[in-house]
Amino acid sequence: MTTTTPGPSALRGAVGTAHTRIEGRDKVTGAARYAGEIPYPELAHGWLVLSTVARGRILDVETGPILAMPGVLTVLHHGNAPRLHTDYIGMLGVPPDPTSAVFQDDRVPFAGWPVALVVAETPEVAREAAEALVVTYEREPHDTELVAGHPGAYAADGHMPAETEKGDLEARLADSAFVVDEEYTTPEEQHSMMEPHAATARWDGGRLEVVDSNQGAGWVQSELATMFSLDASAVRVRSEHIGGGFGSKGLRAHQVSAVMAATALQRPVRVVLTRRQTFSLGGYRSPTAQRVRLGADPDGRLLALEHRSLNQTSTVYEFVEPSAGVARVMYDAEAHRTANHVVRLDVPSPTWMRAPGEAPGSFAVEVALDELAARAGLDPIDLRLRNEPEVGPVSGLPFSSRNLAACLHEGARRFGWADRDPRPGVRRDGRWLLGTGTAAASFGAGAAPSTALVTAEADGSFTVRITAADIGTGARTALTLIAADALETTPDRVRVRIGDSDFGPAMIAGGSMGTRSWAWAVTAAAADLRERLAMTTGIPPEGITVRSDTTEALGALAQKERHSYGAQFAEVAVDTATGEIRVRRMLGIFAAGRIVNPLTARNQLVGGMTWGISMALHEEAVRDRNTGGHYAPDLAGYHVATHADVPDIEADWVDDHDPDDPVGIKGVGEIGIVGAAAAVANAVHHATGVRHRHLPIRPDRVVAAAGSAGGAVDA
């Protein structure tokens, strides 16, 4: 094992010391096997067929000619698929998305809905047969366009109350010396993880085994067991290496259809989504239409704050992108009103995507604050510091630790903010206009019940088993360091095994809660084990194993506002003739609890900020109103930032302790994207004098704004 910071880790503790990834060698040599890469004898290949209409009914699936093709084994569709149990609430407190419970009826609720699975001996034959399958539809008129004020919009709770309100908003706005009242939009965004969803299902001695790429093997196992009415012990899901998830990798059509086919054929079946299929089957971040109203007194203190957000969902599943949740923990005002609304359209079901709610919500709120600072003649950092709340603006609960101010101060110092000339549109470097911008960030620091098994082996080493998932976060390595410290040993004496539902229930890799939740369980089991070992003279050949369950400990944790914080800074160069925007540098300073592994934590934070650049400037999935489907649903049509778009981003952190949390971890997976797009957009305003309120800030938007009278018009 290599440590980039030399030193005897046993003496200083492994946590807090940079450590290269446990599975790093496997990843750089190609030895790490992902879900679609494990060979099985008699493996059959499934290929999904998706609807070509955006709304209607399936009239006919012409399977005859397809089944006659050499190598085709079966065609599953609503006419022959087994009925599934879908009336349940899953582990994460939500019902299953019917998009995943495939082939249950003849309805088509959106373009790209799964209508059939063709299974064949080879992938080539499966693909040819799937493309040749004729499905006829009765087509119905569709509505796929999200617009502000859509008549179908309604208030929806999701994971938080739909609406909150205190004080007299209109009265306090009328009292305000400075007012901002603007609309902001963000587009449909796609997870676009590099590895498309893949699963192989097979029956092994009466037990269903699924090798899958997911963010929680126990989660997917429990959903599959419920859906197929199987005993939980009769289903095992493994997910060793995962090629990215970002919220997309839960129960999806690929696992369910693979299980159906493996059951029908009684042989292993693999289903891998194509890149194009991930656009309608993998979930996505809904577009949002937001309105922010801010009113402040002459000193910039907020008197009124309103944030309303509308997102779309499918007609079969309600998903709320809770953008209006941001101000509930970030900014207070005497009059404070927030609302999340949704509208059901003939579109695929959206889902969680890196910082759901916070990413689009922080764009609107943090740009609005920049606008308020400009109107009030205040520095944007001063404005935020003047509006630091004492307690949760909506909950009234104390903060466990709120180190936003420290992030803003440290970030400002390192970025050189003090020297900034606030006037927009006055700095030039050849053809480029230059500007800098900032934004604040927060993301919830939660934990969920988990179990862990820790074994003292007879040879003196330790084995940790937990149904954790390492989707690229470095969780496997982080848990190794945590276990080593908890067991008072060195990381090389600890073997951490994850990604197997047989290890027991545990939190998923999501909500920036994975490592905190798992670490808690591992620490608890390790403490128990040490007590047991203290009373034991020898270790039997099978070792000594203890199991922990954090349900009770988590229930006893005091109710507080628990969050990570951050301050984002960006410098951009804008060419208003071509519309090109280049991010020249970016700095993020975070208060994210105890940093377990600086090497991988920094990478996570920088990765989130990279997503912010991508969100600000590139990402936009565009839907064709006529067909109801996407234009170019692929990585050429949907742009994610690549090497040339990303400068040498810097991320760092301030000390951040949560005194009553035994693990002290807050999670670093999502805080990096929060506020990052706003910082870029605010820098574009500082560079050009044009306020962009609609993402992404495409070249045509920059050019159109510059072409308007004097270029000083808002876009």
Binding site: V28, G243, D634, V646
Partner: protein, 192 residues
Amino acid sequence: MAPATSSTSSAITLNINGEKHHLPVDHRTTLLDALRERLDLTGTKKGCDQGQCGACTVLVDQRRAVSCLTLAVAAEGREITTIEGVAEGDELHPVQQAFLDLDGYQCGYCTPGQICSAIAVIEEHAAGRPSAVTEDLSPEAAPQPLTPEEIRERMSGNLCRCGAYVSIVRAVARAAEAHAETRTAGAKETTA
């Protein structure tokens, strides 16, 4: 399984990582699928199957190629190097070592493609091939350094959705430095 040779399939020999593999393939089979599905060389990844992401990058006669847009039958007679073939036994290639040391990845799925690309980038640059950001394109231009900007430009065909670009660029730069030192040392030896 397809018959050895017919109007839709052929028996071919692929030279991969210095080893010859004889196999019958469907003519539609891509080099990527031949590697992953037929030869159990799953280190080469399928991110899009459309030549848009770079995850399937391999070296064909030492130059980078997206194996998803290369038919297996068209790869016959070529020298193919995949991620499984870049290390010298247990000793990692300097690019692999730099990715490992500097955390030039997260989920690891784009990594084999990034590494294969980076190996070729360093060679392309050392051979004097310019990129879109190379300032001096004149034939008499002195060798120019492989700056971070050059690396970013040349590596832009390889997407990393985790957003590990910053550490990937550092890893490529470190490996390039080691490569340049080796070349300089080699040149000195030759001169001496």
